[in-house]
């Protein structure tokens, strides 16, 4: 296959599948940086496979990418020797949601973007996961809860608790 054509084909597949694959990995590992590492490695391997080595595109490219991502996840689990698990948010169900969620969002408008992102990276993995799922992928709390096998109220509480912790970093 012509290399330019292969690159164009790769990029089309990349844009077509990136969001879905990223969400898949994010809900498996939780950590945003681990998700980025695994997703980047999957596409880099696929790029080499298709573009540089000239192999034919698999019949179902997305299934192929997911298999590769699962290999990455397997390696990560092995390295950590731990099971990715749910958090103990159930213990905090007595907490209440903020009176004015919009006020918290408005507060962040005054913070420098880079400082804000550094702050997000200081949150727990589970908190980063729900923030990225909700704000990056525009998933509703119900959709996130379904992916995580948790209650919608739990996810919602975790999200607002994360924003509250983030706010405290800047006050």
């Amino acid at each position: 296959m012509n290399q330019d054509k292969a690159i164009a084909q790769f990029e089309a597949l990349y844009h077509q599948t990136f969001r879905r694959l990223s969400q898949y990995v994010l809900f498996k590992v939780g950590s945003v940086s681990d998700t980025e590492d695994i997703v980047a490695a999957v596409y880099a391997d696929y790029f080499q496979h298709i573009v540089q080595r000239g192999h034919a595109e698999p019949t179902n490219p997305y299934a192929y990418l997911v298999r590769m991502a699962n290999h990455g996840l397997g390696r990560l689990y092995k390295e950590r020797q731990t099971q990715m698990s749910l958090d103990d948010e159930q213990n905090h169900l007595s907490e209440t949601l903020p009176d004015d969620p919009e006020a918290i969002s408005r507060f962040f408008d005054q913070i420098d973007s880079q400082e804000l992102w550094l702050g997000i990276r200081r949150l727990s993995v589970a908190e980063q996961q729900v923030i990225v799922a909700h704000l990056r992928f525009d998933l509703t709390f119900r959709e996130i809860a379904e992916q995580l096998g948790q209650r919608e109220s739990t996810v919602k509480l975790r999200y607002y608790r994360a924003l509250d912790r983030l706010k405290k970093m800047f006050t």
Binding site: E11, F18, E36, A44
Partner: protein
């Protein structure tokens, strides 16, 4: 759209940025593979090419910067003009030359800039050469780890109460994007803005990587000062033959004995000596972003003890982040001497 959402959309799993990185990385790999096939086909030609490359690397010249002080190898020789430089001063002192944004800020060359660095480089040539073409973050982490493994970051090596410091200084070497030759003072506004943005971005990427590295620091006692340098400072440091970070802190030194004279001396000051003076540390905090991890070992031990007790009494599935650092070190923004700390596992 509010800023929080904008930040997350730009920084988390950025689709375009990742594609760019993948393509840049593959470009480097592809070049290496082409090189290997040439080796198989033309062994004699390769031998000649290697001889030329070695000779050329000895005379490698970075615009605005003197020839490197390392022993040259083909692997060290940059494939193109470096766009930026990241200087690491612990002692030892290293300079990492990196490519432009289009090429993913890939590492082009690593130079040892003092005696200890040269010895470390010689003893760990393979490790450092393997960083070529990779990311600057990996290179910085590897150098800090090498320094740690070789006892340069031992507690005894810095008996200052203010702790052990690593200086990470960034500088844009080739800000002239439009290709027209102009001095730093005469750079087009567009070039200057672009260079400043890129320097911010490089510094920011480094901060993130360092924060994660520090979070894994078993001792939790190392602090990293991330400094932005100007091209003018790079040139003056070069002229004085002083590693960039040490040149900058030399300029920050305060009158320690109150006699009205700042004793800077002829030789560059060591980072460990510099931070022994509280006023120097304050001056550093005004210019640099200080990254650190909580150093109170007793408190860390207490946290670990509490975690262990919790683990014993709870089901393993309830430990949401076991095996992973769930917090990264805090940041002290430039201009604030405040040093927040966050305990591991908090």
């Amino acid at each position: 759209m509010n800023r929080l959402k904008t930040v997350v959309q730009e920084q988390a799993l950025n689709e375009d940025a990742m594609l760019h990185r993948i393509r840049s990385k593959q470009h480097v790999i592809h070049k290496e593979e082409s090189f290997m096939s040439m080796k198989r086909l033309l062994p004699i030609g390769l031998a000649a090419a290697l001889v030329i490359a070695v000779i050329a690397s000895w005379s490698f010249f970075v615009p605005g910067v003197t020839a490197p002080v390392t022993t040259g190898t083909a692997a060290e020789k940059p494939a193109s003009t470096p766009y930026a430089m990241v200087a690491i001063d612990i002692n030892p002192s290293f300079e990492i030359y990196i490519d432009s944004e289009e090429n993913g800020y890939a590492v082009l060359a690593i130079h040892a800039t003092n005696k200890d660095a040269k010895e470390l480089y010689e003893a760990n040539k393979k490790v450092l050469d393997d960083l070529m073409g990779g990311t600057k973050e990996d290179a910085i982490e590897a150098i800090i780890q090498l320094a740690r493994d070789n006892d340069f970051l031992d507690e005894d090596s810095s008996d200052a109460e203010n702790g052990k410091y690593v200086l990470v200084t960034t500088a844009i070497l080739d800000a002239d994007e439009d290709g027209e030759e102009d001095e730093e003072e005469e750079l087009d506004l567009e070039d200057k803005d672009e260079a400043e943005r890129n320097q911010e971005a490089i510094g920011y990427q480094i901060q993130l990587a360092l924060q994660e590295a520090l979070a894994k620091d078993p001792d939790g006692t190392v602090k990293v000062a991330v400094i932005k340098a100007t091209l003018r400072e790079v040139k003056f440091a070069e002229k004085d033959k002083i590693p960039l970070g040490l040149f900058i802190i030399k300029g920050m030194m305060t009158d320690s004995d109150g006699d009205g004279v700042v004793e800077t001396g002829e030789e560059p000051i060591k980072v460990s000596d510099f931070v022994k003076n509280d006023k120097n540390v304050e001056a550093l905090a005004k210019r640099a972003i200080i990254l650190e991890r909580k150093s109170d070992r007793d408190e860390i031990k207490e946290s670990r003890k509490a975690e262990n007790e919790a683990d014993e009494s709870e089901e393993p599935e309830e430990d949401e982040d076991s095996g992973k650092p769930d917090s990264v070190p805090p940041v002290t923004p430039p201009g604030q001497a405040k040093k927040e700390t966050v305990a591991s596992g908090s």
